[in-house]
């Protein structure tokens, strides 16, 4: 069975002019992404990569200069927004309003009819996020974790088809993170389409079915989890590792040139060890014999499909440092 595309971003571009006399900044450049129905997709990138601009365009808060965004094949409209739930990066609620008042306003915007039905729905949602005892407390006076619970309630109370989460783990303590992760997982199990924008690599690897990496407003890599071990397949991602004890980085670089050995994809030191990462087996294996001839100790050699997080981290470190 082929899965349907729920949200289609087609060649969107956006240029901002931050100040009158400053040059314009290209925030997005011909970005094209499809979001499949029922899947969780991670949007990853350094600060200023264009993730939040993309999200705000999906929500209709920013208009693209070029390109289009379609929801179920139709251009974004008020109707499509009724099927979208949104959790903002830094949750801020209007001051002076209680949890119940905030949720009452929110569901009234989604045309949920009947006063009784609305009250029941609010009570049910507050219980679900564990805020029933704080229903009449002012949101601004609550802790960050409790505000995040309220934000989650607000994002999901109208049972959306698409959930847009912008840095949902930001500023949360370990318990808050665990709660957030469980909520996302439970919505994912219900078949909700989720767009997750985060820097938290463990969450990306465990929650997302697809990832899209943005850099300077462009899509640089996309990947879906493969069937084998549930890891992401990213071009040039280091998958085979060689841990060498003996040389330092400079010595190793000179040795590579001298022996004409393949270039590594990643390199970093851990104590007295140098870890070289390679995207293919043959490149990694060709280093073994020359290293042993030099008397260097090969502490570890092998593939590392399970260490997706570490691989991504290595990859991102190099990507983001550019």
């Amino acid at each position: 069975m082929t899965q349907q595309i729920l949200l289609q971003i087609d060649s969107i571009s956006k240029t901002f002019r931050p100040e009158v006399f400053q040059p314009p900044v290209k925030s997005l450049q011909s970005l094209t992404i499809d979001f499949t129905d029922g899947e969780c997709t991670g949007l990853v990138g350094h600060n200023g990569a264009g993730k939040t601009t993309t999200i705000r365009m999906i929500l209709g808060l920013i208009s693209p200069d070029k390109g289009s965004i379609k929801f179920r094949g139709q251009p974004l409209s008020k109707t499509s927004r009724s099927s979208i739930g949104y959790l903002a990066e830094s949750v801020k609620f209007p001051s002076g309003l209680t949890c119940r008042e905030i949720l009452t306003t929110h569901i009234s915007l989604f045309r949920i009819k009947g006063n009784k039905e609305r009250k029941e729905l609010i009570q049910e949602t507050l219980e679900k996020v564990g805020l029933q005892a704080f229903a009449d407390r002012k949101a601004k006076s609550m802790s960050k974790g409790m505000q995040q619970r309220l934000a989650w309630a607000q994002a999901t109370i109208h049972e959306p088809d698409l959930l847009v989460l912008d840095e949902p783990f930001s500023g949360l303590d370990p318990v808050g993170r665990m709660n957030m992760k469980n909520w996302i997982l439970s919505e994912k199990r219900r078949g909700l389409t989720i767009i997750l924008c985060t820097h938290e690599l463990p969450q990306i690897t465990s929650l997302c079915d697809n990832i899209h990496i943005l850099r300077q407003g462009k899509l640089v890599y996309s990947s879906s989890k493969n069937n084998r071990g549930g890891t992401f397949e990213i071009k040039n991602l280091p998958r085979y590792f060689l841990d060498i004890s003996g040389p330092d980085a400079k010595e190793l670089s000179q040795f590579k040139d001298l022996k004409n050995l393949p270039q590594w994809t990643s390199q970093h030191s851990e104590g007295f060890l140098l870890r070289l990462g390679f995207s293919d087996y043959h490149s990694a294996a060709s280093w073994l014999s020359p290293c042993l001839q030099m008397g260097w100790v090969i502490v570890r050699f092998g593939d590392d499909n399970s260490a997706t997080e570490e691989q991504l981290l290595t990859y991102f470190k190099e990507e983001f440092s550019q």
Partner: protein, 257 residues
């Protein structure tokens, strides 16, 4: 309509529970009391001083709070991003903007009513009875000035930041008060360009039109002509409509980044 009422209610609660609501409500009443004391100190006509000081206090307190809240309502929602979940729902931005304006107008009306009632008490305690029909209209017209300033500050807040909106609206308010005086003055010599600008302001941005008691005192009349009142009300309505249409248009068009 449900969405509009919900947003209106939310903005109204926000304003009502705002920290400055109570103090500003008290400030208006205190100014009325001060007007009462000042009029007792003077040797001139009691009610003239009472109205001069009291109306100035009513005008300035309400005008400043209308500008402050109008600017904050837009700026805070954008800066804190508390409007994002609202605008990401199936409502138009016009609905959000107009609901906020109506909530602000309601809170200003409550404040105006509180000042007006305090005024009645002062009048009564000084043996002046209750305010006359024309004096009631005078308070009503000044309330419209608050509404114009609120609409202007909201419009300017959609175009710029909080500080700029606050400064620009206050500056335009002062221009609206002084431009007609300059235009009418025979002592001030203006070059042709200055004269055009001043005359333009005094014809379409003449804040003296809100103070009917002042006009009546100058003209020596004690009854407001029906035609004059209608003309002033039509001017206020068209000004208000222009500012609200411009504000909603600008708010709908702008990127909320």
């Amino acid at each position: 309509m449900i969405a509009f009422i919900a947003l209106y209610r939310e903005a109204f609660i926000w304003l009502r529970r705002d920290k400055i609501f109570g103090p500003i409500l008290m400030a208006g009443v205190v100014i009325s009391l001060f007007a009462n004391i000042a009029s007792n100190w003077t040797i001139e006509e009691f009610s003239r001083i009472l109205f001069d000081v009291g109306i100035a206090g009513f005008r300035i307190t309400g005008g400043l709070i209308a500008i402050l809240w109008g600017s904050r309502m837009i700026h805070d929602a954008i800066a804190e991003r508390s409007l994002d979940p609202r605008l990401a729902s199936p409502i138009s931005r016009n609905t959000w903007y107009l609901a906020r304006y109506c909530a602000l107008a309601t809170v200003l009306f409550i404040m105006g009513l509180a000042y007006f009632l305090a005024w009645q008490v002062i009048m009564h305690l000084n043996g002046q009875g209750l305010t006359s029909h024309i004096q009631n209209w005078a308070f009503g017209m000044l309330f419209f000035e608050w509404l114009i300033l609120a609409a202007l500050s909201m419009l300017l807040a959609t175009l710029s930041g909080f500080g700029m909106s606050l400064f620009s609206t206050t500056a335009l308010w002062i221009i609206g008060i002084f431009a007609p005086l300059v235009a009418a003055s025979k002592d001030i010599q203006l070059d042709p360009l200055q004269a055009v600008v001043i005359n333009l302001f005094s014809s379409i941005w003449n804040f003296h039109r809100f103070n009917i008691l002042d006009d009546l005192a100058i003209s020596g009349q004690n009854i407001l002509q029906y035609d004059d009142l209608v003309s002033r009300l039509l001017w206020i309505i068209s000004l208000l409509a222009t500012l609200l249409v411009a504000g909603t248009w600008r708010f709908t068009e702008r990127d909320l980044n």
